[in-house]
């Protein structure tokens, strides 16, 4: 589904990704872990086309297409989604109107029927139950005045509406209490299908107790230093990140 080869990227001329290789197939859940500033979020933002980052080398194909030939909105309509760590507030635009607009843009691209406001009402009703969101949040301006946790809930609601093939979730657990994290983690699991895939970006292993990855990658200094199975997340919880970095350093033992 997603194939990243020797990807390098920089922001304002400073390299942040220094050669990333990653393969994600349908049905797989991957976790990218790493210390702060390791380039985890950058990788996600580069994949969805954030304009602040410049791709300086390497290739990424998504569903057989060169990802970097596609504008961010085309990537989204093609099934790529990122749940952001810090979602933007958009005053004056109601959450419900925005969600319906996003849904209809995707439906249009896929040749499906668009939903009118009444049809969308029924549709969204089921989706907000999935993320245990209060209906009042639909009438409010998009993310405006939402708490950190409410914003995260809204990101997963958007994911539920758009049903992306590949969802990248950046630090889903920040701003969430344990109960909310479980609700959203369960929602993400329910949205997962055999032809979908997930890339979970996280500093803390806690989220991986609910969303269980088959593959764990440790990113530091813009490179993937170590790859492993679910056990690696547990090891990182116990030992932190320093040992991975030391092990990978030149002269470090392997």
């Amino acid at each position: 589904m997603l194939s990243i080869k020797n990807l390098t990227a920089s922001i304002n001329g400073t390299p942040v990704l220094k050669g990333i290789d990653l393969e994600i197939k349908a049905g797989e859940i991957h976790a990218i872990m790493g210390p702060n500033g390791s380039g985890k979020s950058t990788l996600g933002k580069v994949l969805v086309g954030h304009p602040a980052y410049e791709v300086t080398g390497g290739t990424v194909t998504f569903e057989g297409k060169n990802l970097f030939d596609l504008e961010p909105d085309v990537r989204a309509r093609a099934g790529l989604f990122m749940g952001f760590q810090h979602p933007i507030e958009v005053p004056g635009v109601s959450n419900a109107a925005f969600l319906r607009l996003a849904y209809n843009k995707k439906a249009e691209a896929e040749g499906r029927d668009e939903l009118d406001p009444l049809e969308f009402d029924d549709f969204i009703h089921e989706k907000i139950k999935l993320v245990s969101m209060k209906e009042a949040f639909l009438d409010r301006s998009l993310n405006e005045g939402f708490s950190g946790g409410e914003k995260k809930r809204n990101e997963i609601l958007q994911m539920a509406v758009l049903e992306p093939k590949l969802a990248i979730l950046d630090e889903l657990d920040s701003g969430l209490d344990i109960d909310a994290l479980r609700v959203l983690g369960d929602a993400v699991n329910k949205l997962m299908r055999p032809d979908h895939a997930l890339l979970v970006i996280t500093h803390f292993p806690r989220i991986l107790e609910t969303i269980r990855p088959q593959f764990v990658h440790v990113l530091s200094g813009g490179r993937i230093l170590k790859q492993g199975g679910p056990g690696l997340a547990i090891e990182l919880e116990e030992r932190g990140y320093d040992w991975v970095v030391e092990e990978a350093a030149p002269g470090g033992h392997r």
Binding site: P72, D73, R75, P87, G92, L101
Partner: protein
């Protein structure tokens, strides 16, 4: 070829017959206008708004006319509306069958109380020639009197329509008095067709503990000129909340001034949505004359084409006005390289125990916001239009009349090219 002198506009408009009622204030206004000229960019407060085109236009008093207002009716207010066409009362377009007993809402020419109110409700400030012109020549207008402790549940709709074929001037006058403890919502709307000059004057007195919510909508014709003077005084513990929405007119100016007594509260919000070569100027004056007053001012401008927005927000906190809380914010979105905004706060604080904040921001759409919407599948144009709509529509959300809120959202959608995004209203 001779070029008309700048003062010819004032002289032309005063050359017609003087209406018979209210002779004394009219004579006084004429005396003040004698020898005066229109302000020029050299005059203080007019550096950004050039009236030269106005002084070259041969305006005459507007003739009588009729207008079809069926498209302007708001369902919540079908029985509480007064309509004026070309400055004159239009009884057949008006309907006040749903007014609560005791509330007076009628044309000045039919109101015996009007002579006591004219020019007395709010303190005089530095008068613009447009206010004096109005006093000298207004034909009619509306009087609104809300008796003590009456809380009107239905909002009132005050509609001024101007329909002219040749350059003509109208002078709507509005007198509003809320007695102690009264409460009222009022929608004041200006619309029309043709190359007219309208110079409304609104005088407001909000009594002790009374509350007036005032929605003011200017959607005058694209060739019109609109010059409003609004003076309000708010007694102890009273509240005056206004929202002025500027959509129309090639040239417009709003000059609201509000005086707050002890513990009084005012909101003076504004939105100007401008394109082409429109010029919209707001010069506001908030006077905290006594202690513990509160004021909020949010002025939003969305400017496209070669349009220009001007905002000057003067706030004065008198030496006695301790405990004042005044907040002012000016936010401006420029949509083209040739659009322009001139914004300046003007704080005069003579008391020491006060909280005054002000801020002004002028900019383009935020790339992070555009990207966020794109990442959800909206193309660049849709994302930009939606954000522009949101920037402007934010101010509409608190409008208490549902049908008006929806109508204005649709208007803003159309003006921000966001209609193609579907029914967001």
């Amino acid at each position: 070829m001779t070029v008309a002198a700048p003062s010819s506009l004032l002289a032309d408009l005063l050359s017609g017959p003087r209406p018979t009622e209210w002779e004394a204030p009219r004579l006084a206004a004429e005396a003040r206008l004698a020898g005066r000229e229109l302000p020029t960019p050299r005059d203080k407060g007019w550096q950004y708004t050039d009236l030269a085109s106005l002084s070259r236009t041969p305006f005459t008093p507007a003739p009588e006319a009729t207008a079809d207002i069926s498209g302007d009716l708001l369902p919540e207010m079908v029985g509480t509306r007064q309509v004026f066409v070309n400055g004159r009362y239009a009884p057949h377009a008006s309907c006040v069958s749903a007014l609560p007993p005791g509330l007076r809402f009628l044309p000045l020419t039919l109101a015996s109380e009007a002579c006591h109110c004219l020019g007395t409700l709010a303190p005089e400030t530095a008068r613009s020639p447009f206010e004096d012109l109005n006093t000298a020549r207004f034909e009619d207008g509306a009087l609104i009197l809300v008796p003590k402790n009456l809380r009107a549940t239905l909002p009132l709709h005050l509609l001024f329509v101007t329909r002219v074929e040749h350059p003509s001037a109208v002078f709507p006058r509005v007198l509003i008095r809320l007695e102690a403890g009264a409460e009222l919502s009022l929608v004041e709307e200006h619309t029309g067709q043709g190359p007219y000059l309208t110079c409304p004057v609104v005088e407001i007195q909000v009594g002790e503990g009374a509350i007036l919510r005032h929605e003011r909508i200017q959607r005058d014709h694209a060739t019109a000129v609109h010059m409003t003077t609004l003076r309000a005084t708010v007694a102890q513990g009273g509240q005056y909340h206004s929202r002025t929405l500027t959509f129309g007119a090639r040239l417009s100016r709003q000059e609201p001034s509000v005086r707050l007594a002890e513990g009084a509260e005012a909101t003076l919000d504004g939105l100007a949505l401008l394109g082409d070569g429109q010029v919209a100027d707001t010069h506001s004056f908030l006077h905290h004359a006594e202690p513990h007053g509160t004021s909020h001012q949010l002025h939003t401008c969305v400017v496209d084409g070669q349009a220009r927005a001007v905002f000057n927000g003067q706030i004065r906190v008198a030496p006695d006005a301790q405990g004042t809380d005044a907040q002012q914010k000016s936010r401006n979105l420029l949509l083209s390289g040739t659009a322009r905004v001139d914004t300046e706060p003007q704080l005069e604080i003579y008391a020491d125990d006060v909280k005054c904040t002000h801020g002004a921001a002028v900019g383009q759409l935020d790339p992070d916001e555009i990207f966020y919407l794109q990442s959800r599948g909206l193309d660049l144009e849709a994302a930009r239009n939606l954000l522009t709509y949101g920037f402007a529509a934010d101010l509409l959300e608190r409008i208490p009349v549902a049908s008006l809120r929806r109508a204005l959202r649709r208007l803003v959608l159309a003006r921000t090219h966001a209609s193609a995004l579907g029914d967001l209203a």
